[in-house]
Symmetry: C2
Subunit: 480 residues, 2 copies
């Protein structure tokens, strides 16, 4: 840098050198702690006398801008850089409508903050104490030994090919006809859903979904400027009369449904209902986004094939899968299984957004699945989550005045309270160190004010018991 200094030979030279270096330091051009080149070198480069450089360096040292380390050289001090600070953008006023909406819909930013010591029923993520990281280490070392540096360079937007092939086979074993389909690997369900919505809908299009439904999906529909049409599915699953009426009356562009371990109700849609749903949507030529994000919980109870299996060779179902809710959410791996032509389009959108999902993670994930780590893990956790679920149900029945509760063995339970506002209840429980998710965030209308979701996967049995007892006490206090 310093050799760029232009010297005006008509003016005092050492002052010019001093001023220029000072400016560079103050403006951040010469980083803190960096070493100035030696006085000998600089003088020869600039073709000036060495004593001029020494004088300049001394002046800088006096002002505390540089310091000398004996025998090592002259270094830039950790001075605070001076700036005029005239320009200040108020970023909260400069952000786009889209970004402002993302902030407003970001429930983490609006919810009651809580301490780590609280009993939190908010999370529906797996209990990480159950992860087997020895298996993971083995998977990592195996895959690095086998594939080496290839895993560290750019991969393909569609995903790591061996993982795609594994998942195609995995889906085929669920009864899915994969010959006309393909897979795109995504950073989890969330990215998959966002890419699908951006790729098959336009601003203002209508989308149909269950009411209530997964909050993240609702958020993404709103961020993609869609008009959300909810179909009630509270106590007895989807109301098909309502569905048929809604379909007849509206011009619907796409549908979003969670047939297995529906979030937040935990319900598993029966085979008959899946077929009825599929045929109704097919009648109106409405593509179905099937959320399989909890499909893998099938290991906790009976298996029912996804709607994409029912669709056979037909190509109207876009299935989004993920193992996040039971396995390694931190790795952010999900997949979209859809018609081959559609996947080609989704691939270009994925590439434009972040090129591809981490190849290393995909390879580790595949190795873990292939070695049977996933199956062993699911066997181990099955009993643990089932026991927690049974105890939670028992405690709710005993302590909480509810209208109905979901009973399927999911990692969460939706409770419809008896004339109690769940946000009022939450405020009281918060004071006693217990938090949960108020159910209103899952609803497409204002029906959810008396509902709440309890996620228990990361809590101990003692915490579940204590937490639900407190919620029950506060609910009864509210009734009085």
């Amino acid at each position: 840098m310093l050799y760029n200094i232009r010297i005006d030979r008509k003016k005092v030279i050492y002052i010019q050198v001093y001023s220029k270096i000072k400016e560079m330091i103050e403006s951040g051009l010469l980083p803190r702690g960096s070493k100035l080149i030696s006085t000998r070198e600089l003088s020869s480069m600039l073709e000036i006398s060495r004593s001029a450089v020494i004088s300049a360096y001394e002046l800088l040292e006096k002002e505390g801008l540089v310091y000398i380390q004996e025998g090592k050289g002259t270094f830039v001090s950790s001075v605070c850089i001076e700036t005029n600070n005239q320009w200040s953008i108020d970023w909260n006023k400069k952000t786009s409508d889209y970004a402002s909406m993302a902030v407003n819909l970001d429930i983490i930013k609006t919810e009651l903050k809580h301490e780590k010591s609280f009993i939190s029923f908010k999370s529906i993520a797996p209990d990480d104490r159950l992860f087997d990281n020895e298996e993971l280490k083995r998977a990592f070392l195996n895959t690095i030994s086998l594939n080496g540096n290839k895993l560290l360079n750019y991969g393909y937007a569609k995903g790591y090919e061996p993982l795609i092939n594994y998942l195609l086979n995995y889906m085929a074993n669920k009864g899915v006809e994969v010959s006309n389909k393909d897979i795109l690997i995504t950073n989890g369900f969330t990215e998959g859903m966002d890419i699908v919505l951006a790729s098959i809908t336009e601003k203002g299009d209508k989308i149909i979904c269950e009411n209530p439904t997964h909050n993240t999906a609702l958020k993404l529909m709103k961020l993609n400027s869609l008009d959300i049409v909810g179909v009630n599915c509270e106590e007895d699953g989807i109301n098909f009369n309502e569905l048929r009426e809604v379909l007849a009356k509206n011009n619907i562009k796409a549908a979003y449904f969670i047939p297995s371990y529906h979030n937040p109700t935990g319900r598993v849609m029966s085979y008959e209902d899946r077929k009825t749903l599929y045929n109704n949507l097919k009648k109106y030529n409405i593509p179905i986004i099937e959320d399989g994000f909890n499909e893998e919980l099938q290991h906790l109870s009976d298996h029912i094939s996804p709607i994409t299996a029912i669709s056979g060779r037909e190509n109207g179902v876009i299935y989004i899968g993920s193992l996040s809710k039971i396995l390694f959410p931190g790795m952010r791996i999900g997949w979209i299984l859809a018609d081959k032509e559609l996947v080609k389009v989704l691939e270009s959108v994925k590439r434009s957004r972040n090129i591809h999902t981490s190849v290393l993670d995909q390879a580790i994930f595949l190795e873990y699945l292939k070695n049977g780590g996933f199956e062993r893990y699911v066997k181990r956790i099955r009993g643990i989550y089932k026991e927690k679920h049974e105890i939670a149900i028992e405690m709710i029945k005993k302590h909480i005045p509810y209208k109905w509760i979901s009973k399927e063995v999911a990692l969460y339970i939706l409770i419809k309270l008896n004339k109690i506002n769940s946000r009022e209840l939450l405020e009281r429980c918060h004071k006693r160190g217990v938090v949960f998710t108020p159910g209103d965030i899952f609803y497409t209308d204002d029906k959810g004010a008396d509902t709440l979701r309890l996620g228990f996967s990361r809590l101990s049995i003692e915490e579940i018991k204590k937490g639900i007892t407190i919620i029950g006490e506060e609910a009864r206090n509210l009734i009085r």
Copy 2:
């Protein structure tokens, strides 16, 4: 599932059982290879005779829908599922304008396909043979031992905190005033750029950038529906007269610049030019997106501080950093350094899109940086890339009839040819097993038809020599 079969006792029972199971198999409800429950159990569950169940199973076996494994049970065959295939969506007509644009701008989909044996000057990714995966293994094992399962569960949208702190310090050492700033970790530069554009611009806004510039950035500006205003920077860097004129005439919402190792010219903007650029944009209150994606190549030559360092405590610069081009592109780690208030907004956008970047990757990456792996690696590669660059320049001068070439030590060289169309040249070279990137994709207007970019980082010296010789021969053939 099977226990759900409803039996009409007025009709033949075994036929009902057979039909129902057949339907379940054909519709995918019973997955291939899955085991039917025993005839004894099913008969007791349905309260029908065991012989009725046996008859049903036999009929299924005759039709090849199930097979019996002696002593193990009855299993669903790998039959092809029958579907009526009445419903077929033409997905290419159903995709959104946004997705269609992503496909059209996806250069990988339109470029000439080439064999693996070709000499390809297309890539500007690092040579993965230079990666030290022993260091990486150590980093992985260290971080898993230290942090364990936490790394595998959900993390924070903003990023892995120890990595954020490391990078804040890293940026401070580049002379950046970080006290009023914060960092968001992204899936590489591409995601960072997309999130920033979506967060600070509206459809139709004008954005100013260098012409030519990074093709991915141009693609993202188009996908975010921006109106692109290019400022020429071919031979001598930014034309500041043109810049001032453009700024005076247009209402510009944001600016995008690549001061270090500009893509595709490879140019490093001088300190003076950085200051001039900053002050001009500041005058019009235009936020600057500074692309630092190649900043780390500084190790290949002199260090010049990023514009965000020049801005001091002012908050108008949004810096997007990445180590992808020298280190582990497959891991997709980048970061946005910006005003604290803005990062809060970007964080919500990031959360809405994919929750967060892989925690495991972030932790491995941090461990690798902390242990000095990065520094050792950069020392090792420096000489290698420098040598390749020197040879490439020498060969170009000898063989290719050019108007000008970029000479900075980047991993790529832009060549402006002498009255030759680079796509015509590419077609000829392709026939001889050599490919490169035609320069037009980097231009905001039609000026780039006579330019091409040569990326040489992944080629051997022999390949560089051979490839450039062929390009030169074909260029001279075109002139004749």
